[in-house]
């Protein structure tokens, strides 16, 4: 599957329904396709798959960087609409150091609250990154623990 359509012989466009429309080399049109990152956390820009509504792979994009600007733009805009992973910039306060705990956080998407169900909902990734999954399944990201301010780090430390 990995070598499938690695060179660009397809077209991407928006249809009237606002969905992405995929046209393959034979001219077959697929509406409402999905874009899926293969490694959304470890390597978001590598390995992108275009999946039909029926769940079949239509095209494989090994690297987003190598794509023509127009397609890249479309893909990025679409992904930006679908992907939601607020980056925590500051932890204002936590309701308790025992879980479940409600955190007031500032993210790049604004201020919000998240409920941490258990400590194991915090995943340690490489390079001091953390992935925090809240009660509702929303993923929050901490890009670098070291770069958080002291207050946030102190709060966070109690859960690590």
């Amino acid at each position: 599957m990995t070598t499938l359509n690695s060179n660009i012989d397809f077209k991407l466009a928006h249809n009237a329904a606002g969905q992405l429309q995929f046209t393959d080399s034979d001219g077959t049109v697929f509406d409402g396709i999905n874009l899926v990152r293969a490694f959304p956390i470890s390597a978001p820009d590598e390995g992108l798959s275009i999946i039909s509504q029926q769940g079949h792979e239509l095209a494989w994009i090994p690297s987003l960087v190598d794509m023509p600007a127009q397609i890249k733009e479309l893909i990025e805009a679409e992904l930006a609409q679908r992907e939601f992973m607020p980056v925590i910039q500051r932890i204002h306060q936590v309701s308790s150091f025992a879980t479940p705990s409600i955190w007031d956080v500032a993210t790049d998407k604004g201020n919000t609250q998240l409920t941490l169900k258990a400590e194991d909902q915090i995943w340690r990734l490489k390079n001091n990154r953390l992935l925090i999954t809240d009660k509702n399944g929303v993923n929050f990201m901490v890009n670098n623990i070291e770069q958080l301010d002291k207050h946030s780090r102190k709060l966070l430390d109690r859960f690590l």
Binding site: N15, A16, A17, G18, Q19, Q54, G55, A80, Q81, R82, E83, F84, M85, P86, S95, S96, F97, A98, T99, P100, S101, I102, T107, K109, G110, N111, T112, T115, A118, E119, D120, T133, D134, K135, N136, G137, V138, N139, D157, R158, L160
Partner: protein, 782 residues
């Protein structure tokens, strides 16, 4: 997030008078009210918490009987204010659609195929927007056609319109779990386990009082020994042998008494604490077994094992040893203080001066240590998790030659352990010497003040000696008391981790008002069921009615939600929306074990427990007679091969049934299901992991099993479903087709494609196809 207003409570334009509970938040009241026309009723609303750029902002979607209105913040001259942003008056062809991806939900409004609008939000409560969409559809149709909205047959929950059955006393959607963190005074919660032993505890406490008092007698006797015997002797008075004998006798007597009392107190309290520990373990394990599969899915075995095993032991040691010592010490300090004050208040004051200071120091360090110890616990379970992961998977590790990788993973976890320990030891190592230093300073103070008082003739030498004897004991105890800080914290964090399990309310709770079904006929109704696993919606708005005795074949690609549906039917999980009912009763209202007794489950990978074959067959019905066991085994076509084993039914099968082939294990598990004679039978890929020959054997066994029972069978090989009355084709959490083999083949839909794909597949042998043709023929003739 979703709220539907009960339309009877809403008159035109006036909003509900009481904005409490789940009614429209106060925040939105004025703006919504100002935009509603006369004769316009608010029907439902949905809070949208993200804007187009996916920033957290408050928006509101409102359904009235006329239109869909979207409110949100807008820039005006007076700054950002909430305003009516967009509205859509109902017309033909309007459609709301909902998708979700990674925790973010999107709601899209279509006019035919043209997208008019879209909104995004995260789910902040357990209710789902599917009912919002339903409301929208109902209101829209009613507005366009002019017909009133159909009245819902069942009485809905007054708060959220979730359909309730007569038996349900509270709405499962509204009364979802509340997120309250456990109290920090976790250790006191152990009282629940200590309560049954309160009399033994009281006896132990009284003995403790007495023994502590006995240990305090000897220093007191040093006063007369010094003042009435030794000092007079130095001044030329002969020794009073009678008095000396009396005093020495008192010393010996009090020592013997303290010994006897101390022994009995320690024995009684150790006995009790051991029992408390044992109760704690059993109750935690029992509770763990009752938790839903969801909990086990999210936890690692190593961690759970550590919690029940070593943590409970740590608590036990804490109670029997450290807490006991600490209580004795506290008693001693109080008694000593009383004695000292009664002898000489001024000197007593000086003696006790360092005490609050030390107490304060303990308090400071305690906080730092607690977090540290919690951290050590977590790191420790990380280490054991590496082991628990690797050792069962050792074949995979070796096969891929990844020993060094696993070793480095372990080393890494260990390194983390080391780092955390290093940090905590830095504080800890400073602590003990500081206490010792304070002790020395305290003694120095007493010496200095005592000598000064003697020089003023305020006290005798005997009193100073007694004080020194008291406080040297007292300070050595302080040193050991300071150790209580660490052990208490360790025990408290252990207790917290155990109570984490105990506090975890099963996500499949037992009903508060259980309904008992006498005779189960086996009719299953699934009404608009939805299920989310983490942030993935696995089942979406699924409706299916299965008649008693009917056999349903569940067909679909892997990942289409078949197994999840089966798990929901077994109530391993609870639906997050909609309901599943058995014989018209919501399965949430039935006692769990009573409900599951009606279900026979045959899995793809049969799990056999360590024990004899007979025990394994009788697993669901331990009191089954041998005749019943054999009957079940015969029906499962297992009888003959069992007899071929050296010890027949008493042959031991090892862990997970080593020594038996896959087909043999499967037939034992079929016998197990047969023995409990369930009304409902669930076959989850029962024949997927065996060869065709064995499959036929199993199929014959299954045919016996299916007879007369409501059966839900999942199968990849479509040929195994030849007995099914109806085939249900699933795709991505939804039912796409329902019908018999012939009907589905004729309609050339999803089933047809699946069937064709399988017929072409080289894996499918001729036998499968011919049997399929057989069914086709049979069905045609029927």
């Amino acid at each position: 997030m979703l709220n539907v207003v009960n339309s009877t409570t809403v008159n035109s334009k006036t909003l509900p008078p009481n904005p409490s509970s789940r009614l429209l938040p106060n925040f939105w009241q004025p703006i919504v009210q100002s935009h509603l026309n006369d004769a316009e009723e608010l029907q439902a609303w949905l809070e949208i918490n993200l804007d187009e750029q996916l920033h957290f902002t408050e928006h509101l979607l409102v359904i009235t009987n006329r239109r869909l209105v979207y409110f949100g913040p807008a820039k005006t001259d007076a700054g950002v204010q909430n305003a009516l942003l967009r509205e859509y008056v109902y017309r033909n062809g309007l459609k709301l659609c909902q998708h979700d991806h990674a925790g973010i939900y999107s709601l899209e409004l279509f006019d035919q195929n043209l997208r008019l609008d879209s909104w995004r939000y995260t789910l902040t409560s357990d209710t789902s927007s599917t009912r919002f969409i339903k409301q929208f559809e109902q209101q829209c149709t009613s507005y366009v056609s002019g017909k009133p909205v159909p009245v819902e047959a069942t009485e809905p929950c007054p708060k959220c319109r979730y359909p309730l059955t007569a038996e349900q006393d509270e709405c499962p959607q509204c009364s979802s779990e509340i997120d309250t963190p456990p109290s920090t005074w976790t250790l006191f919660r152990l009282w629940r386990f200590a309560k049954p032993y309160q009399w033994q505890l009281l006896a132990g406490f009284l003995l403790m009082l007495a023994s502590t008092a006995a240990t305090l007698v000897p220093p007191y006797l040093t006063i007369p020994l010094m003042d009435k015997v030794l000092i007079p002797y130095q001044n030329g008075v002969p020794i009073d042998t009678g008095l000396v004998g009396l005093l020495l006798g008192g010393l010996l007597g009090s020592a013997l008494l303290a010994w006897g009392l101390g022994w009995s107190k320690t024995y009684i309290l150790a006995l009790v604490s051991e029992r408390i520990g044992a109760d704690l373990r059993t109750i935690t394990y029992d509770h763990l077994l009752k938790l839903s599969l969801e909990y086990f899915g999210g936890k690692r075995t190593g961690d759970l094992m550590a919690r029940i095993g070593s943590e409970s032991d740590r608590i036990c040691v804490f109670l029997s040893l450290h807490l006991l010592d600490f209580a004795t010490d506290v008693l001693m300090i109080i008694m000593t203080a009383a004695i000292l004050i009664s002898i000489n208040p001024e000197l007593a004051l000086v003696t006790l001066l360092p005490l609050p200071f030390i107490a304060w120091m303990i308090h400071i360090v305690r906080d730092k240590l607690r977090t540290g110890f919690e951290k050590i616990d977590r790191v420790w379970s990380e280490v054991s998790n590496v082991l628990a992961d690797t050792i069962p998977g050792i074949r995979v590790v070796k096969a891929f030659a990844q020993e060094s990788r696993e070793s480095s993973r372990f080393r890494e976890a260990n390194q983390h352990n080391l780092a955390v320990n290093d940090r905590i030891n830095k504080i800890w190592s400073l602590f003990s010497p500081s206490v010792t230093l304070l002790t020395e300073i305290g003694l120095l103070l007493v010496w200095a003040f005592g000598i000064w008082q003697i020089s003023k003739d305020e006290i005798s030498v005997g009193v100073l000696t007694a004080f020194l004897a008291y406080i040297s004991r007292f300070y050595t105890r302080l040193d050991s008391m300071s150790r209580i800080v660490s052990v208490t914290q360790k025990a408290a964090s252990g207790a917290k981790r155990i109570f984490d399990i105990l506090d975890h309310v099963s996500s499949v709770p037992e009903p508060s008002n259980p309904v008992h079904l006498d005779k189960v006929s086996g009719k299953i109704e699934i009404r608009s069921a939805g299920f989310r696993y983490g942030n993935r919606a696995v089942i979406k708005d699924l409706n299916l009615i299965i008649e008693p005795g009917e056999m349903i074949g569940l067909v679909g690609h892997s990942g289409s939600g078949k197994s999840t549906l089966v798990n929901l039917m077994c109530r391993f999980y609870d639906v997050s929306a909609g309901s599943i009912s058995l014989d018209g009763v919501n399965i949430r209202s039935l006692p769990i074990s009573e409900y599951r007794r009606n279900i026979g489950l045959v899995l793809q990978e049969p799990f056999l427990f360590f024990g004899s074959i007979a025990e394994n067959i009788a697993y669901g019905k331990p009191d089954a007679t041998r005749a019943e066991i054999i009957e079940a085994a015969r029906a499962a076509h297992a009888h003959e091969f069992i007899l071929r084993l050296p010890h027949g039914y008493d042959s031991l099968v090892g862990e997970r049934g080593h020594g038996l082939s896959g087909g043999e294990r499967q037939r034992i598990s079929i016998a197990r299901a047969l023995l409990i004679d369930p009304r409902i039978l669930i076959l989850d890929e029962a024949t997927a992991s065996v060869d065709t020959e064995t499959e036929k054997e199993i199929q014959r066994a299954l045919d016996n099993l299916v007879h007369g029972r409501t059966t839900i069978a999942i199968a990849h090989r479509l040929s195994t479903l030849h007995k099914a009355n109806r085939l249900v084709v699933m795709d991505r959490g939804q039912i796409v087709e329902v019908g018999s083999h012939d009907e589905l083949m004729a309609s050339e839909g999803a089933y047809y494609r699946l069937y064709q794909a399988q017929a072409r597949n080289v894996d499918t042998d001729l036998d499968d196809i011919s049997s399929d043709e057989r069914i086709a023929n049979k069905e045609a003739s029927a």
